[in-house]
C-alpha cells in the first residue's frame, strides 16, 4: 500500500519508514521536493519592492505617539503616587507635631502655677488617643481608594487647619476648653470621613449584588 498524497506531504515516522522500502513512494517524494524547490525559487523573486522609507515615516509617527502616551501615563501614575505620599506625610506629620507639643507641653508652660482641672486632663488625653486611633483607621480605609480625590483634598485641608490651630493653642498656652474643642473638631472630621467610606462601601456592595 503506497503513501497517500496527504501522508507524503507531511511525513510521520511510519511514512519515513515506508519511504525506505518503497521505490515508487521514494520517487514521488523526490518529485515533491523538486516542486517545493521550484515554489521557493520562483515565487516572490520578481516582486518589486515598495518604498520602505515612506512606510517607516508612518511607523515612526505611531511610535512617537505611543511613546508620548506611555510617558504621560507614567507621569500621571507618578504624580498620583507622590500625591498619596504627600498627603499622608503631611497629615501624619501634622498630627505628630501636635502630639509632640502635647508631650513636651508640661515643660513649656508659661504659667506653671495654672494647673488644668483633672477631669479636663482625662478628657483631653482620651480625645488625643481617639484622634490617633481614628486616623490610623482612616489610613487603612483610605487605601481602598473609595474616596474621591476632591474629598481627600478637603479632608487634608481641614485636618491641616485644625492641627495648625492646635499647635498654636499649645504654644499660646490657650485655655483647656479651647484645646478640647479643637481635638473634638478633629475627631468629628475623621469620623465623618470614615462614615462616608462606610456608605460608599455599602453602595458598592449593593451595586455588585445587583
Amino acid at each position: 500500500m503506497h503513501l497517500t498524497d496527504e501522508k507524503l506531504l507531511e511525513l510521520n515516522e511510519s511514512g519515513k519508514e515506508h519511504l525506505l522500502q518503497c521505490t515508487k513512494c521514494k520517487q514521488r517524494a523526490k518529485v515533491l521536493i523538486g516542486i517545493r524547490q521550484q515554489l521557493d525559487q520562483q515565487i516572490c523573486q520578481s516582486s518589486t519592492l515598495p518604498d520602505f522609507k515612506a512606510s517607516w515615516h508612518i511607523v515612526k509617527q505611531v511610535h512617537e505617539e505611543v511613546h508620548q502616551q506611555s510617558e504621560s501615563l507614567q507621569k500621571v501614575k507618578t504624580t498620583k503616587a507622590q500625591h498619596k505620599i504627600t498627603f499622608w506625610q503631611v497629615s501624619t506629620m501634622m498630627l505628630a507635631a501636635s502630639l509632640l507639643i502635647v508631650a513636651i507641653f508640661p515643660h513649656m508652660k508659661v504659667n506653671p502655677e495654672i494647673e488644668l482641672p483633672v477631669a479636663n486632663k482625662i478628657v483631653l488625653v482620651k480625645w488625643i488617643e481617639e484622634n490617633v486611633q481614628l486616623q490610623q483607621l482612616f489610613e487603612q480605609q483610605y487605601n481602598n481608594n473609595l474616596l474621591t480625590r476632591v474629598s481627600i483634598n478637603q479632608l487634608q485641608f481641614k485636618l491641616a487647619s485644625i492641627d495648625d490651630l492646635l499647635q498654636q493653642a499649645y504654644f499660646k498656652n490657650a485655655s483647656d476648653e479651647e484645646k478640647l474643642t479643637l481635638w473634638q473638631q478633629r475627631k468629628k472630621i475623621i469620623k465623618n470621613s470614615l462614615l462616608n467610606i462606610k456608605k460608599l462601601k455599602l453602595k458598592n456592595s449593593h451595586t455588585i449584588s445587583i
Binding site: 503506497h2 503513501l3 497517500t4 498524497d5 496527504e6 507524503l8 506531504l9 507531511e10 514521488r28 517524494a29 518529485v31 515533491l32 523538486g34 516542486i35 517545493r36 521550484q38 515554489l39 521557493d40 520562483q42 515565487i43 516572490c44 520578481s46 516582486s47 518589486t48 519592492l49 515598495p50 520602505f52 512606510s55 517607516w56 508612518i58 511607523v59 515612526k60 505611531v62 511610535h63 512617537e64 505611543v66 511613546h67 506611555s70
Partner: protein, 191 residues
C-alpha cells in the same frame, strides 16, 4: 561569500533592549533590517503587493506595542516572523470568506497521483498560476510547502481544524496542476 538576508539576519540583543525602552533609532534599525523580509513573507502568503505593503506597517505598529513581550528566549527574527504570518492570515481572513471543509471533503482527497511526475517542471509562470488560486489556498500552500509550517500550526493560525489545512493544501496542488496542464495545452496550440 553568501550574503545573509531576510529573517536569517540576526540583530543584537542590545538593540532590541534599547527599542524596548522606546529608543526610536534602535527601532529604526530593527525596521530597516527586517522590513524587506516581512514584505516578502507577507507577499508570498497573500500574493498582493498593496496588502503586503500595508501588512509591513501593521506588523511594525504591532511590534511597537508588543516588543516588551519579547523575552529573548528565542531568536527575535523568529518571533517577528510569527507576527507577520499571524497578521497576514488575519487580514486574509478579514477580507475573504473561508471555505469550510467537512470530513466528507477530506475522504474525497485520498489519492496517490499528485506527485507521480514533476508537472511543475515545464511551468514558466508559476507566479501567475499561484495568484490564480484562492487567497486561502495560496496561503496554505506557501505556508506548508515553502515556509515549513505543519498542518497543526496552520490550523491554529486560521483558527480551523487540521483537516481544513490538509484539504486546502491538497486542493491547492490539484488546482495548480490543472492550471499548469491547461497552460501547456494552450502553449502547444499556439505553437
Amino acid at each position: 561569500m553568501t550574503k545573509i538576508t531576510g529573517f536569517s539576519v540576526e540583530i543584537s540583543l542590545a538593540v532590541i533592549r534599547q527599542a524596548q525602552q522606546g529608543d526610536i533609532d534602535a527601532f529604526e534599525q530593527i525596521y530597516h533590517t527586517y522590513a524587506k523580509a516581512c514584505y516578502s513573507l507577507a507577499w508570498r502568503i497573500c500574493g498582493q503587493e498593496v496588502m503586503a505593503q500595508d501588512l509591513v506597517q501593521d506588523v511594525f505598529i504591532k511590534v511597537i506595542n508588543k516588543i516588551n513581550n519579547y523575552r529573548a528566549d528565542g531568536v527575535f527574527a523568529g518571533w517577528l516572523r510569527q507576527i507577520v504570518v499571524r497578521e497576514t492570515i488575519n487580514k486574509i481572513k478579514a477580507e475573504t470568506k473561508l471555505h469550510l471543509v467537512t470530513d466528507e471533503d477530506l475522504s474525497q482527497q485520498e489519492c496517490t497521483d499528485l506527485f507521480d511526475c514533476n508537472w511543475l517542471e515545464s511551468c514558466r509562470d508559476l507566479e501567475t498560476l499561484t495568484n490564480q488560486l484562492s487567497v486561502t489556498s495560496r496561503a496554505v500552500l506557501l505556508l506548508h510547502e515553502v515556509e515549513g509550517y505543519n498542518h497543526k500550526e496552520i490550523a491554529k493560525f486560521f483558527n480551523k481544524s487540521e483537516s481544513f489545512s490538509k484539504v486546502t493544501l491538497n486542493r491547492a496542488y490539484t488546482a495548480l496542476r490543472q492550471r499548469v496542464s491547461s497552460q501547456e495545452s494552450t502553449n502547444a496550440f499556439n505553437r
